[in-house]
Each structure stands twice: as C-alpha cells, then as structure tokens.
Amino acid sequence: MSAVENGIGASVTRKEDQRFITGNGNYLDDINKAGQAYGHFLRSPYAHAKIKNIDLTAARAAPGVIDIFVGADMAADEVGGLICGWGISSKDGSPHVAPPHPCLAMGSVKHVGDQVAFVVAESVQEAKDAAELIEVDYEELPSVTDVRKAGVAGAAQVHDEAPGNQCYDWEIGDKEAVDAAFANAHHVTKMDLINNRLAPNPMEPRAALGEYDRGTGEYTLYTTSQNPHVARLILSAFVNIAPEHKLRVIAPDVGGGFGSKIFVYAEETTTIWASKKVGRPIKWTADRSEAFMTDAHGRDHATHAEMAFDADGHILGFRVATKANMGAYLSTFASAVPTYLYATLLNGQYKMPCIYAEVQALFTNTTPVDAYRGAGRPEATYVVERMMERAARDMNMDPTDLRMKNFIAPDAYPYETPVIMTYDSGDYPQTLNLAKNMISYDGFQARKAESASRGKLRGIGSAAYIEACGIAPSAAVGSLGAGVGLWESAEVRFNPTGSVTVFTGSHSHGQGHETTFAQLIADKLGVPFDNVEVVHGDTTKVPFGMGTYGSRSLAVGGSAIVKAADKIVEKAKKIAAHLMEASADDIEHAHGVFSVAGTDKQLTIGEIAFAAYVPHNYPEDLEPGLAENAFYDPLNFTFPAGTHIAEVEIDPATGVVEVVDWAAADDFGNVINPMIVEGQVHGGVAQGIGQALLEGVVYDDDSGQLLTGSYMDYCMPRADDLPNFKVEATNTPCPSNPLGVKGCGEAGAIAAPAALMNAITDALGKEIDMPATPEKVWRAAQSA
C-alpha cells in the first residue's frame, strides 16, 4: 500500500482511459488541417529491380493531382537519405556497411514496397488513382530474402557497396577460452535455431501530417512516433529538412508502437519535405498492407549454438554463431539489435565462465529489420533457454534443476558477465520457484497422464529470461557505437494554485505514463493525483527527450521526474523555512507537507507554491516560481528477470496447440502501478505466444514477394488463441536508479517464445521451428 492516496504501489485506474473509451482520442489520422492535401506512395512491386524510366505524364494529368515527386526531386533539394544511428565495427575493425537509403528510389528498388514516387492530390482516392497511371519501366533483378542464403557465393547482390551482402561480421567474448572449455567438456549440446521474422503490427498504422508555415519558415510534423525529439534531431541534422528550431515534431495519441515507431522512415520524411513544395499541409496514412511492407520487421535470426557442460551439469562455455537479417537497408537502430542488445545477454541468468559469439549481419531484398518488442533480448533468451532445456533432456535432468544448478547466486551482485554486462540485482531461484508453484509444476506428470488418457499430448516448458532495460548510460552506449546519449528529461511545473504539470521526454503509446508519472508526483509531492497533468510528445512543449523504447520510460524518464521533484522539495524547504521563520535545516518533508522539526508548524506544498508565485513574503535571495528541470542519465542498465512456464496440450489429430496454463514470475524491482505492470506482461506474453504459434513474415524464395501482406495471411493472436495468464512479481529493487524500478514492457515477449517452444518440444518429444502452426505440429505428431 502506498503512503498517500494514488501514490507509488497503487493500482490506480488510468487517466488516459476517459478519452479512449469515449472515442475522444486524438490519433494522427483524426487530425485534419485546413487546406490539407493527401499523399500516396507508389511502391515497388518487385523485390529487386532497376528503374530504367519513370513516366509521370498521364498521372500528372489525372484529376485532383497537385504534384508528384520522385527520388531526383529530393536529391535536387539535397534532402539526404535515412541514417543508421549506431555504428558497429566488424572483427577486422572496419565499420559496418551502410548503403544509401533514399526516401524515394534512386534508380533501383530493393524490396517489395520500396518507395518509388509520392503523389499528392486533393483526396486519397485521387492520389491512389493517379499512382496507377505512373509508368515505371523496371528491369527485374535476382533477389535474395533468406538470411541463410544471403551470404552464400552466387547469391543476388542487394547493394554494390556490400560485397557478399555483408553489413558487418562482429564478435564478442573470448574465443580461446571457449575453445579450451569445449576441449574439456563432459557433455556438449548443439542446436540450430531459427528466430522467425515478425511484423510488429501496432493497431494504429503509421501516419504523418506535414505542414509548412511560409510566414515563420517553420515546419510542423505530426507523426506516429515513440520519440519525437529523436525524429526531429535526425530530420534536422542528418536528413536536412530544416534546422531544429524550425521543425516542430508532434506525436499525438499513438496507437501502439512496440518498437516499430521508434524509427525515422521515408514516409514522414517525404511528407514533411513535400508540404513545403506544394505549399499545403499533406497527410499520409498507411494502409495495413503498406504497414506489412514497410514497418520495420523484427527478429529474423539463424543461429547455431553449442554449450559445454562438466559431468555435474555446470556450464563450462557457450559458443554462438548468428546470421542476422538487416533487410534491404539499415534502419535507424538496426545494427545495434543483433549485437549489443543480443549477444550481451547470452549469459542469461547463469554462471557462464566464458562465451564467444559471432554475428554476421546481412542485407536481403526484404523490409528493413530493426527493434521490435524486446529487440535482441528475445532472440538471446530464445537461444539460451532452448539450449538449457535441450541440454537438460540430453543429460536426463529436469530442466528446472539444471537451471537452478547454474543460476548466479542471489548474493553474487554486482555480477560481471563475460559479455560486458554487470548485473546489479536479482534472485533467480526465487522467481523460478515462484513460477513452479504458480503452475503446480510437481503435479504435471499426473496432468500429462490425464491428457494422454484423452489421446492428447501435454507438455511443460520454462524460460528463465533476463533483459537489459532502462537504456541506457550514455557513456557506455557511446563507447559501443551509439550516435546519441540515452538520458531522459523532465520538468515539474507547479501552477500558482498548486496543481502540477509534468513535462516528460518519454512518450506514451499505451504504457499509461499519464497515470504512472502522476502517481510519482502524488507520492513525492503530495499533490492530489487528479491535480497532476502529464504532457508529452510535442517538441515545442517538452524539453528535449529521448523517448520510449527498451522499457526505459520509468527507469530513466521516471527517474528524471523524481530528480526534478527533489529539486522542488529543496526549493520549497527554503520557502517554508522563510514563511515559518525557521532554518531550512529544520524543515522536514513528507509527501508534500513541510514542517518545522519539533513543532506543530507546517505548510503544504500548495501553500508554498502559492507563495512562490505571489512572493509578497518571500526569501530575498530566492527566485520566485516553482518549476524545476532535470535530466537523468542512468548509471547502469536495469536487469529485469524472471521465469515463465507454459503448459500446452496438443491434439495430435489436428496439430492444434492449446496453451492451457501460463505462469509468469517476474522481478521488475519496485512497482509503481501493479495493474499497469500486469497489463504490460499480458501484452508481452501475447506477442511472444504469437511469435511461437502463429506469426511469421514469409517471402517467396524465388520472386522475393511478400506472401504475408495482410491479416488474411499473417496470423495475429486473437482472443480465442490465448489463455488467461497467471502473473506474479518478486522484488529485488534496482540499486542504480532512485525509484528502484527495472522496466516491464518487454519481459513477456522475451520469455514467452522459449517457454512455449520448450513446452511444445516436451509434448512432441521432438523439435520444430517457430511458428508451431497446426500443420507443422501435426506432421511432427504423426511421425512421432
């Protein structure tokens, strides 16, 4: 229970819900501007082709057409291509290859859906109709989409700049130590694992509305972004749209992101640039089919892993080689995902004496791949936890016993892994035991027998995951190649009558910041929850901030708010001391009440705020007003961890996998709003189950066509595909931030695929790749 109403630890219902449940949300496509025109992209129907000619004559003459732009038009304006903001070096020290990434094609197209031309018209329909009249003379070229084939001699070349389609060939860890460990191993487990390609699918499609003001020379871009300031920085400093002070970026209500709305895409860039060219606001809203072709995809790894054990089942060493699909171009943070967000977590929750990982990133004729919920960490957990379970079976041990034997001890923190992370806190045996209790692990054999009596195959599988969140200490990521710092900003601004407006650089697109952050203020400053307003998502209103991804909003953004609140308290103490004629040192503060020690004199923060804005009786040396800014740069990553256990029942006659039970035991450190945290776990697990059972982006191997381009072909988890979830939490507070929080947004998506595939393997007695569709499962069950 929290000490104050609606404070830290209370499951407060959300402020933002009122507008969403009444249809009063303000999503991008809900916004219209006077004189607005509509944009539509003509996209490549080919995976790879040379553009020999584009004839716009007929299209230009079509009704309602205002203008049409192609790559050369943007190049003539020196509006640059898109960038990747994280530099990775190959083993030989050479920088990663980042071929040009034009917003509109310059002579060639590299994946189905690549932008060829931008039509601006009076209506969406007219823009679409006109686009059909554009005559593009393509020369189709050979393509490659499968990451396992991209590096093979003779594979189609995606970019001249990247021989062998290699973006980089990177390594981490100690190869010699690992070789030595394997030489002494009693047992070695080996696996080849595919981490299937996913389409993120926030329910709100991406959209942009660009407007140029001739009077002020200012651009305003409304965009479906998780990080509007970063978008502004990139569009200004690298893409050359306008100087930062002349570009306002607004991310209004955003209908989900899951990573896919972090990146700066061709569409908003083209839209804002073209708004000046045509002198009118332009709106572009993606169709779902465009989203499938162009929203950055996630995962798509092919991995070979080997783990060495001694005779007692202790891990001796871990060797991993991964091929990571980058798609046709390097998206904004693509290079970091299969390296520093992946291989650095291959240590899992275990004492691993040594690790060696190699990652080869390859270009293919597919949609760019970048961060999607979990970003690299689900891939790492999938490798580690599939290996642990397989190794346990190989060695005839219970998988949870093998984990227990190898866990880092709860008193071993800080714990340095062989892959550059320093875990700060945790209690892995505790979360594993909790999950086992939640799902009645010991009763499984009886349940399995009961299922068998009905002709069903029952399986149970665990995943003990760890992630690095709260990204991230700026100096640390800078040394690893990041082009930006990863701090966060906040302003806590009292109004004269005592209400508070909080400005945050974080961005909420479903996470409930307006509620959680208000709880922080209610708790720290004693301001009634309803009197706190949280403002985010507008570069003109809020201080420069880095945005929301990597489960960082509370650990980093929330910490910035707490720092600003601390400054408020400091100043308020001085004001209180003056008003109560005491020394500031004698002022005690708790939840917004300032009292003089040892007396019954006290003032509330509201009274002090009023005095600060109406400073008739006020300390001489103090500035009036009560508003404080803070920037918070984290000291370390945070390390949420836990165990999820899945139980499934398979009908061998149909191949349908029913998820019959799910136990999630997570350690997120301190929790501000348990209701919201549980919701995040539910959503993450659902996406993880989606990956394991249903989802997968498929390209035709020959033509490079996208075969899963709509909800008819790409199977999204629906209500009747999922179980109810058992969710419980443990708490080892995070020592590196003032709130002791670790982050919860990605955990479910990280843990779930491995847990579920382990359960399916247990049921079938054999391994299959994700997604475990009925067809695959049925085939496996038949040949069992």
Binding site: T13, R14, E16, D17, Q18, R19, F20, I21, T22, G23, N24, G25, Y27, D29, D30, N32, Q125, N201, P202, M203, E204, P205, D253, V254, G255, G256, F258, D287, R288, S289, H509, G510, Q511, G512, M675, I676, E678, G679, H682, G683, G684, V685, A686, Q687, S710, Y711, M712, M716, P717, R718, A719, D720, L722, N724, F725, G748
Partner: protein, 155 residues
C-alpha cells in the same frame, strides 16, 4: 455524388457522398466522428465496429449508401451524456485497454455480444471477440472487462 441520410447517435444527418464511400469513411471524414478507427484493409481487425440498427457491424465492410435510413451508433454515442455505458466503465476499471486504438471497436462489439449473450462464459467472450484484434492487452483484461460489464448490465 449521391445524397445519403441516416441517424447517427440520435441525430439525423444528410450528406452528399461519392457512391463508393465506405460507412467508416462517412463517419470519420464526413461526420468527423473520429472515435471509429481503421486498422486494416481486409475487414479483419474490428477497429471500425459500430452499431447499425442495434447490431455490431464492421463499418469498413459497408457502403455509406447501404446505411441509408439506418440508425447508427458509434462509440461517441454510447455514453448517456456524462454517464458512461457500463461497458466503457468496465474497460476502465479492469484495464481493458492500453493504447486505446482497438478500444472503441472492441467496446462496440462487446456491447453487442452481451446483448446477445447476457451471461457470457469466458469461452463465449473469447470466441465472440475473435473479430476484434488487440495488439496491446493480450485480451486477458478485455475478457475480464466484458465479464464484469455483463454482470453489471444485469445478465
């Protein structure tokens, strides 16, 4: 252009529209009722769900002219003034939404579901909501919301 007249949220509206205008476009663009959303182009997601003559309908599957003379309710018309519909209340109380994008359609479907199944089991709820995709919540709290609303609605 053709003229189309219908009752939306209790008010009679008449507009001139292109004959191929979808009901969802009519609602969003002509009437500027933007609570009804578009999440797909294949009639799969249910974000556009409204009530037409009391039944839930995916408004992207229907032309505006097909709703000539119909009684249409959108999410904006569900509450009784400031008094929320029990389903809206239940979604808030049970954290049945996160980003909120699927929510109007989900609520409209759920109201219809409870109308047809006053006392729905969890299985019924999950099955009936199969036409509405939510990417955020994992449905757990949506199911809880619908159950709780059904109880309050006196099922």
């Amino acid at each position: 252009m053709t003229s189309v007249t219908m009752t939306v949220n209790g008010k009679s509206v008449t507009r001139d529209v292109e004959p191929n205008t979808l009901l969802v476009q009519f609602i969003r663009e002509n009437l500027r009722l933007t609570g009804t959303h578009v999440g797909c182009d294949t009639s799969q997601c249910g974000a556009c769900t409204v009530h037409v003559n009391g039944d839930s309908v995916k408004s992207c599957t229907m032309l505006a002219v097909q709703a000539e003379g119909a009684d249409v309710t959108t999410i904006e018309g569900l509450a009784n003034g400031d008094e929320l519909h029990p389903m809206q209340e239940a979604f808030k109380e049970n954290h049945g939404l996160q980003c909120g994008f699927c929510t109007p359609g989900m609520i409209m479907s759920a109201v219809d579901l409870v109308k047809r199944n006053p006392n729905p089991s969890e299985d019924t709820i999950r099955h009936e909501l199969e036409g509405n995709i939510c990417r955020c919540t994992g449905y757990h709290n949506i199911v809880k919301s619908v159950k709780s609303a059904a109880e309050k609605m006196g099922g």
